[in-house]
């Protein structure tokens, strides 16, 4: 074996070249992976931004519609519409009261919702926003802290 390498030293060079190429390939793969992850992250970040904008726009639209509905059903608007439809305010002597078994007088509104309470704390764990270098740095700092 040794003899074979002695008579053909280019084998050693080929081995070096092979190792170097392997390293290049590995580096290229890591770079490609990194590029892929980075691009995916960027796309996801952009999508999150767009979704957030959509949420904000939806909330604004909902709020606008809610207020518009309140304007359309305001006391003045409803009275105007009622009069236009031929209604008139009832006179006290025209009111008839009927006893309805089980009738319960309307109670004030309850605006409680079944949805979960809004979150006000940040909840993303560090694994999702730490880079490898950040993680290494943290480990080093932590290990120093223990010493």
């Amino acid at each position: 074996m040794i003899h074979a390498y002695r008579i053909a030293p280019w084998r050693i060079q080929r081995q070096w070249i092979g190792n170097a190429l392997l390293a290049v390939v590995v580096l290229a793969m890591v770079a490609a992976l990194y590029l892929n992850i980075t691009s995916q992250t960027a796309v996801a970040g952009r999508e999150i931004q767009e979704l957030n904008n959509t949420i904000i726009l939806s909330q604004q639209a909902s709020s606008d519609l809610h207020t518009e509905l309140a304007s359309l059903t305001s006391a003045t608007a409803m009275e105007t519409r009622a009069l236009a439809l031929g209604f008139r305010p009832i006179e006290p002597n025209e009111v008839e009261y009927l006893v309805v078994p089980g009738y319960v007088k309307p109670q004030p509104v309850n605006l409680s919702s079944e949805s979960l309470p809004q979150l006000s704390m940040l909840t993303i764990p560090p694994e999702y926003n730490q880079s490898l270098l950040d993680w290494l740095d943290e480990r080093i700092v932590t290990s120093r802290g223990f010493q």
């Binding site: 957030n52 606008d64 006391a75 009832i90 004030p108 409680s112 309470p117 006000s120 940040l122």
Partner: protein, 583 residues
């Protein structure tokens, strides 16, 4: 030959190794240089952006879930000066759509202030106008040749919420308003400003796209549900407007409260403001007390205060309903002669007659017997001279002079007994008289029914302000007031319902003397007398058709009470008693 190549290769490898080493050394040197710290600091400064997230202001509803204050989207319209392609087009479009001066806009665009990249042209622009401009910008961009820019390139639109009041002027005195800086003024908006505004949140957002971050969900400001009944409020405001015209009064107030728990159901004032145009405040109101007179404007209440004088006399044992006295038409107190409202003697009267005919001489007589300490002790317990603690901004405490004050004279004991020489607010009168309607317990008037936060509703329990009189005294006086109205055939009576109440006519001091022509006419009443569910206070300032409360405020009370029983679904007494018997 091979050795020569080997040598060359080794030299080349050595050179490359040296270069690589030099690069590493240089990198290490740069990393640890003095300048590196500066650059590192700069990079950290740009690594994160501190962003503040503002919560949406809480909404305001009436007790039946009608929106009284919400949000609407408006736009900030600005120009990114680096991207402006056609300043003329931008100036022309904005001047046409927003009715602004073309030359001014063009001047600013052509010669912007030094060192700015973005300039706000207009803020709080209505959504429709902003959308028109956005459509125009898009159309011009679409028409532009491929690869070039549209005429409105550089024009930017930023949407943000603005407070909106869908009922416009309705209950403006209760709600108050929010200015463009987001600060609440008057009414609920000021009193609960911190709750409604919520808490903003500051978050560091990384510039590195690889670092995930969570946009905080900032909780909205607290939503408030008021005790106000929108339809009753609208009816009260409409009736008040009609009454001012009918009786020639300058100003007026109608307040409706549930005497059992202090919930204010309607607070109508004659001066109201479209809250969506709050900048008109100065043209509508002369001073801050005009915004919500029921809580901030003091006046001499006149004979409605006799209810409380009689309550004190009965509760202290000074008189009973059957106690009699001889009314000679005048009485001397503190060196001053006090006369009845008609300046006539009424002969022998008991306490029922005293209330029924609203006799000043009677009141002076019983307060003289009661003594100043007892009388003022009761008035203090009824809350005069103190804030009622109503949850609306701008409340006034009024003024009750007491023995020992530099400006108190013995005659004040007499005049105070029939409501002159004492300054109160309508809300104080309601709070005090609620003790009579509510079995001796005085309520704290309030407008907040519930708060909604994080999807949960928290109802506000009623608060009581003590028991200045006993339950027996309250019931006795309640009955006396109901009988006196019936016996008088008062214009305040409500068909089908037994009502208790009292009129008031107070002379207004003009240049240091009381005027017989300018009066404050008022009426306070509640019903149904045996189970009070509403208490109404009417105050008409300087009515011109008649100075008397019995001829102006009393009929307004009756009409308001008739609307109230319909809107609150309170059946007539006979039906209500039948229903009670069935239970």
């Amino acid at each position: 030959m091979r050795q020569q190549y080997a040598l060359r290769s080794q030299v080349l490898a050595g050179v490359m190794a040296f270069v690589a080493l030099a690069i590493i050394v240089q990198m290490t040197r740069i990393q640890n240089s003095v300048e590196a710290d500066v650059f590192r600091q700069q990079s950290e400064n740009y690594a994160y952006e501190l962003k503040t997230f503002y919560p949406n202001r809480g909404e305001i509803y009436d007790r039946n879930g009608r929106l009284l204050a919400g949000q609407t989207t408006v736009y900030e319209i600005g120009v990114d000066l680096r991207n402006v392609r056609d300043a003329h087009a931008i100036a022309f479009a904005i001047s046409r759509e927003l009715e602004m001066n073309y030359d001014e806009i063009l001047g600013v665009l052509n010669d912007p202030p030094e060192g700015i990249a973005y300039m706000v042209i207009a803020d709080f622009v209505e959504a429709q106008k902003a959308l028109n401009l956005q459509s125009l910008k898009k159309a011009l961009q679409d028409q532009a040749p491929s690869g070039s820019y549209g005429g409105l390139t550089g024009l930017q639109f930023n949407a943000h919420p603005q407070r909106s009041y869908p009922e416009n002027t309705l209950a403006s005195n209760i709600i108050g308003f929010v200015n463009r800086e987001g600060k609440g003024y008057f009414g609920v908006e000021e009193n609960y400003d911190n709750l409604l505004a919520g808490n903003s949140m500051q978050v560091l957002i990384p510039a590195d796209p690889n670092k995930a971050f969570e946009i905080p969900k900032v909780p909205d400001g607290t939503t408030l549900i008021l005790t106000i009944n929108r339809d009753l409020q609208a009816a009260a405001e409409k009736l008040l407007d009609e009454s001012l015209g009918e009786y020639g009064a300058r100003e007026g107030v109608i307040v409706i409260m549930d005497p059992r728990n202090g919930e204010l159901l309607a607070v109508a004032t004659s001066r109201r403001m479209d809250l969506n145009k709050f900048w008109n405040y100065n043209t509508i109101y002369d001073n801050a007390t005009d915004f919500n007179p029921p809580i901030s404007k003091t006046y001499e209440p006149g004979s409605v205060l006799k209810v409380l004088t009689m309550a004190a006399a009965l509760d202290s044992g000074t008189v009973t309903p059957n106690t009699t006295y001889l009314d000679t038409g005048s009485i001397l107190i503190g060196g001053v002669t006090i006369q009845n409202w008609d300046r006539n003697p009424w002969g022998v009267q008991n306490m029922l007659g005293c209330l029924q005919h609203s006799l000043n001489v009677c009141m002076v007589s019983i307060t003289s017997q009661m003594g100043a300490n007892t009388f003022y002790g009761y008035m203090d317990s009824f809350g005069f001279g103190h804030l009622s603690n109503v949850d609306l901004a701008g409340e006034s405490a009024g003024r009750l002079k007491v023995p020992g004050d530099s400006d108190w004279y013995p005659v004040d004991l007499g005049t105070n007994s029939f409501g002159q020489g004492v300054a109160v607010t309508p809300i104080q009168m309601l709070a005090a008289v609620s003790a009579v309607a509510n079995d001796g317990r005085m309520v704290t008037p309030h407008v907040l029914y519930a708060m909604v936060r994080d999807g949960r509703q928290y109802n506000v329990p009623p608060q009581y302000a003590g028991s200045p009189i006993s339950e027996a005294t309250a019931r006795t006086l309640n009955e006396m007031l109901a009988i006196s109205l019936e016996a008088e055939a008062s214009e305040a009576l409500v068909p089908g319902y037994r009502i208790a109440g009292k009129t008031g006519t107070a002379e207004i001091p003009v240049n240091g003397f009381y005027s017989s022509f300018e009066t404050n006419a008022s009426f306070i009443g509640w019903g149904p007398a045996d189970e009070p569910q509403f208490m109404i206070y009417v105050w008409l300032e300087k009515p011109t058709t008649s100075p008397w409360g019995s001829e102006t405020a009393a009929p307004v009370f009756s009409e308001m009470a008739q609307k109230t029983v319909i809107l609150l679904n309170i059946p007539p007494d006979n039906i209500r008693q039948q229903l009670r018997a069935l239970k």
